[in-house]
């Protein structure tokens, strides 16, 4: 296949990837969008085989490896529970990162087959591009592994900080730049290996100080990195499909990080520098114990809801942990039978990744037109009778609006307190990840339900 023809096909596959993302603007078009994505991938792979034109025994090996990898991927995709989606995405990012590193190594060791010059005398531009690709790929890999371990609970979600951390990170980042610079002059393989090794190290160091609840930002950020790594490799290989895709994924991840940061009213840098949640723990713990709290049982909650005409449900990470989405849907079905209007309010940072709650509700067969974003529904709280908060905390905290001293001051929150009554389903009075007390617990119209989210929801359903 001529090089120009294959370039046109790579362009087509890049365009199909754009259409795949475009399809996600609404659930109706999204399935077709995913099909475009698959088509684009198939075209890119077939064109690559045709343009190499090597159909010897090597081709069979490659095909077998591709199919083994594919079956592993398919197996994971069908088995994974929806609540584990953040871990899955983090794990997948690490694979893209590592694949980028492997391609870069291979190109460095065997530049002839990529038309980049010969070993020890690689074209300068290619060498820079491949260093960037390898370095970002390595950071994506080790960073995603840490994110994966934290989300999976294998590693503690609390931030790990030590003295001189930022200085160390800064030094490593500077040395990556210096190494890349030196590599361009010496073409030394040792420098290349060192570059990759310290990139792995910095990826690890960058993510350990970031707390569990900042994971939505971290995952989006790593998503973005995996895109830039792909783009770097795309420049090395002079491949349009890779460059377009890398740019798309890179900007997509960056936008998601921005949305997540805005949802928490935190600057991107304060998230990256990490340590949030550990330091503020001492804040506002003074008067916590004395304040009276009204707590109730499933019966009380069922009574309140039965007499309501509209209920708004506010799900949070606790719902995912307790796997309570199906129980919740059953409760809502029961409410609807009693002609009670039910809608769901989703805060942008509810859960551990962007859109986490929406997927879980969709899994439990909640129609997506009953699920609303913060701006869409926030005015409705004052007209609703009951707000049912299940596993959320900080995103409802009114002190974000009223108390300039609060660490989350300025964060957009759901106006849950405007409801006639609030049901707060939570395991205990413990503060959320920000380590701050929620005034909502002590409000007169708040009824606390201390229990496992799933169990309590089932009990309420039985009492309805």
């Amino acid at each position: 296949m001529s090089i120009n023809l294959s370039a046109i096909f790579y362009l087509i596959s890049g365009v199909l990837f754009i259409l795949a993302l475009r399809g996600l603007s609404s659930p109706e078009t999204s399935r077709r969008g995913n099909f475009f994505g698959i088509l684009g991938m198939v075209i890119a792979i077939i064109v690559t085989f045709l343009s190499i034109g090597n159909f010897s025994s090597d081709f069979i090996y490659v095909l077998i490896i591709l199919l083994i990898g594919g079956s592993v991927g398919a197996f994971i995709a069908f088995k994974i529970p929806m609540t584990a989606m953040p871990e899955l995405v983090a794990g997948f990012h690490s694979l893209v990162g590592l694949a980028a590193v492997f391609v870069a190594i291979s190109a460095f060791l065997n530049p002839e087959s990529f038309n980049l010059g010969i070993l020890g005398n690689i074209k300068l531009a290619s060498l820079i591009e491949m260093s960037i690709g390898a370095s970002i790929g390595a950071i994506t890999f080790s960073g995603s592994i840490i994110a994966f371990l934290k989300l999976q609970g294998i590693m503690s979600g609390s931030p790990i900080t030590f003295k001189g951390q930022h200085l160390l990170n800064a030094l490593i980042l500077i040395s990556i730049i210096i190494l890349t610079y030196l590599l361009c002059f010496t073409q030394s393989a040792n420098l290349f290996w060192t570059l990759i090794a310290i990139s792995f190290l910095i990826g690890f160091l960058l993510i350990i100080p970031i707390g569990g609840a900042d994971m939505p930002v971290v995952i989006s950020m790593l998503n973005s990195y995996s895109g830039w790594a792909a783009a770097g490799i795309g420049f090395t290989l002079e491949n349009t499909a890779l460059i377009i895709t890398g740019a798309l994924v890179g900007s997509s991840g960056a936008i998601l990080s921005y949305i997540m940061c805005k949802g928490m009213n935190r600057s991107f840098f304060s998230v990256i520098l990490g340590g949030f949640g550990g330091t503020e723990q001492s804040f506002s713990s003074k008067s916590k114990e004395q304040k009276p709290v009204k707590s109730g049982n499933a019966d009380d909650a069922a009574f309140l809801m039965k007499n309501a005409s509209s209920v708004i449900i506010v799900p949070g990470y606790g719902m995912a942990v307790a796997q309570a989405q199906h129980a919740l849907r059953e409760m809502v079905d029961r409410l609807k039978k009693n002609d009670i209007k039910v809608s769901y309010a989703i805060h942008p940072v509810a859960g551990r990744m962007p859109g986490h709650m929406n997927v879980l509700l969709a899994e439990a067969n909640v129609p997506y037109d009953e699920v609303f974003e913060l701006e869409e529904i926030n005015n409705d709280f004052s007209n609703a009778d009951v707000a049912f908060v299940i596993g959320a905390n900080d995103v409802t905290n009114p002190s974000a609006k009223t108390d300039p001293q609060s660490p989350i001051y300025g964060m957009p929150v759901l106006d849950v307190e405007k409801c006639k009554s609030v049901l707060f389903l939570k395991r205990s009075l413990s503060p959320g990840y920000a380590g701050i007390d929620n005034d909502l617990f002590y409000k007169e119209n708040t009824l606390m339900l201390f229990a496992d989210a799933k169990k309590m929801t089932e009990d309420i359903t039985n009492n309805l």
Binding site: L21, I65, G69, I76, T240, L248, P354
Partner: protein, 102 residues
């Protein structure tokens, strides 16, 4: 004087960032999780590089070091491609509209 082909690729890159910017802003927030899994799947188009690496070593010894890195790359990217697209598909199947009144 001819324009360096790098500049062309760089132009594609910059324009694609802008396309990505506008396309992603129009993605509905409820589909942000599928967005992440699908971007993950498409960024595995890096398999193109891995295939080149795996196939173009010297033909006498396919298990040359650069080839092996290529094979590993193919393996990892393939997990991602199949896993990413299929899990996205699975998620998107779940998004349903309210049933019209019977």
């Amino acid at each position: 004087m001819e324009i360096d082909p790098f500049i062309f690729r760089f132009s594609i890159f910059i324009l694609s960032i802008f396309i990505g910017y506008y396309v992603v802003w129009s993605v509905t927030p409820s589909l942000h999780t599928p967005l992440m899994s699908v971007t993950n799947a498409i960024s595995s188009v890096i398999i193109v590089g891995a295939i080149i690496a795996g196939l173009s070593g010297n033909s006498e010894n396919i298990f040359d070091i650069p080839n092996i890195f290529g094979f590993l790359g193919i393996f990892l990217a393939a997990i991602n491609i199949f896993g990413g697209f299929l899990v996205t598909q699975r998620m998107l199947q779940m998004y349903k509209k309210k049933k019209k009144d019977k």
